[in-house]
Symmetry: C2
Subunit: 295 residues, 2 copies
Amino acid sequence: MSLLSWNDTPTKQAILNFMNSTNDKNSQEYIPLSERVAAFDNDGTLWVEQPAPAQTGLLIGKLVEQVKADPSLAEVDPYKGIVSQDPEFMQGLAQQVPEVVIAFLSGIGKAWEGTTPEAYEAEVQAFLAGSMHPRYNRPWTDLVYQPMLELFDLLSENGWRIFVCSGGGRDFMRVFSEQAWGIYRENVIGSAPEYEYQDGQLLRQNKLHGNIALGPGKPEHIYARTGRRALFAGGNGDVDLEMLQEARFRLVVVHDDEEREYVVTAGAEKLLVAGEEGSWTMVSMKDDWKTIFKD
Amino acid sequence: MSLLSWNDTPTKQAILNFMNSTNDKNSQEYIPLSERVAAFDNDGTLWVEQPAPAQTGLLIGKLVEQVKADPSLAEVDPYKGIVSQDPEFMQGLAQQVPEVVIAFLSGIGKAWEGTTPEAYEAEVQAFLAGSMHPRYNRPWTDLVYQPMLELFDLLSENGWRIFVCSGGGRDFMRVFSEQAWGIYRENVIGSAPEYEYQDGQLLRQNKLHGNIALGPGKPEHIYARTGRRALFAGGNGDVDLEMLQEARFRLVVVHDDEEREYVVTAGAEKLLVAGEEGSWTMVSMKDDWKTIFKD
């Protein structure tokens, strides 16, 4: 029994059919075990990303701390956009507009420069323990989509290795990936700083490890990590387009459930057009999912 | 039954003891499954690296091709060191002296700039198919140490995830990692170029992804890939020192078998000193290994 939280719709059937045909050694669709690499975006694909991605709270809190320590920073972006709550800047951040994310990351890069992984992890733990989602009043890690966890189980049972590839922070996600998704840290890919090993310590540098993992950065990071393209991919925004185009099975989580979750089309325009063309698997949260969250 | 190609020596017992104590939930040595990350160097640790690492042949062949296309290159390093077979340069390369490797990699970076992963892989396949080891007269991938494969099996059975972390090329090793070691490409870490995704293709850049994976670069790459340090590590050269220092179980392959393999101490001076201090596990190829290669 699998995909219990999925309604019996053509979407569920498409997933099951893909599992069957790719397992069938006599089928042209057959995929050898070694090539069964799946990759999923995180925010909006595995958990709620409205009103803003969870990590945003951590990052904004950190930048506000920086401005308190040095008030002159309030005159320049990204600090300016944040302390003034500039709507355009904040919306750009929520929709992961590359330019805004890059400005934001430069502030982040400075803020955590020289930090050890252990110190960073402690900050993330404290943030997650102290943050509730404003609408659901639950910790963010409770807001993982139950149907996606069941899809992970199905993929694992069929020999797929599952990677998460998010534009968000690799090291942020790794703090909760094992508990929330059952996915080892090493299978978490995302935007990440370089670390330098000095005197027995890893120290975070103000420099990215590869490009930011958005748009073309997703296949880049997936190849760097796995030596392959992901043949099964899931996303929900245009920043996932290239990763989805590289895949054979292209799953898009469509946010069309106003009652239980959110209705969002902004930032997903290209994916929605691709979905209309027919060969992509568009998951309607409203129609395809029996439940959204674990009880 | 495990470690069949290992003699019944204290070395074998040390490995088995470590498996037992780290599996024992009542022991202070217990290691949770999620933290069971093991990392191994490749050249000289998993296969023969004398008279020079296998990849050297591919790289030198490529640089010689470059000089043929542009003879003026023969005046500058790394091309000069190679076409003149400068002994100091060649020895530096064999022992992975960082400066020499960096000069060498700059030539390599230029040579393969713009290459797709598929084209590179075809070159590696052709090289491996056409190269025999000068002493053993066998393909390099036959020269993997059988006892180390059995150690991989033992670690896997005990829930360890095995990564190879070599100063050599990540993408070179990935071509044969599944066939030769039974290790998926995504568990191969090494020095690697950045790729840029353009128009549906990954194109190799003349730029490293992170630092070179030697010395401090090994814990850096292991952390970037896994989000952890490797608690079980194996190496054979001083370029593995930092990776080994980060581990709880530190295994060093000592090349002391003139008859069946090679006697080498150059480039391993620091490891041999550490071994004399007692807490490291020094593997004597001569005394600890019943067989070296698979038949």
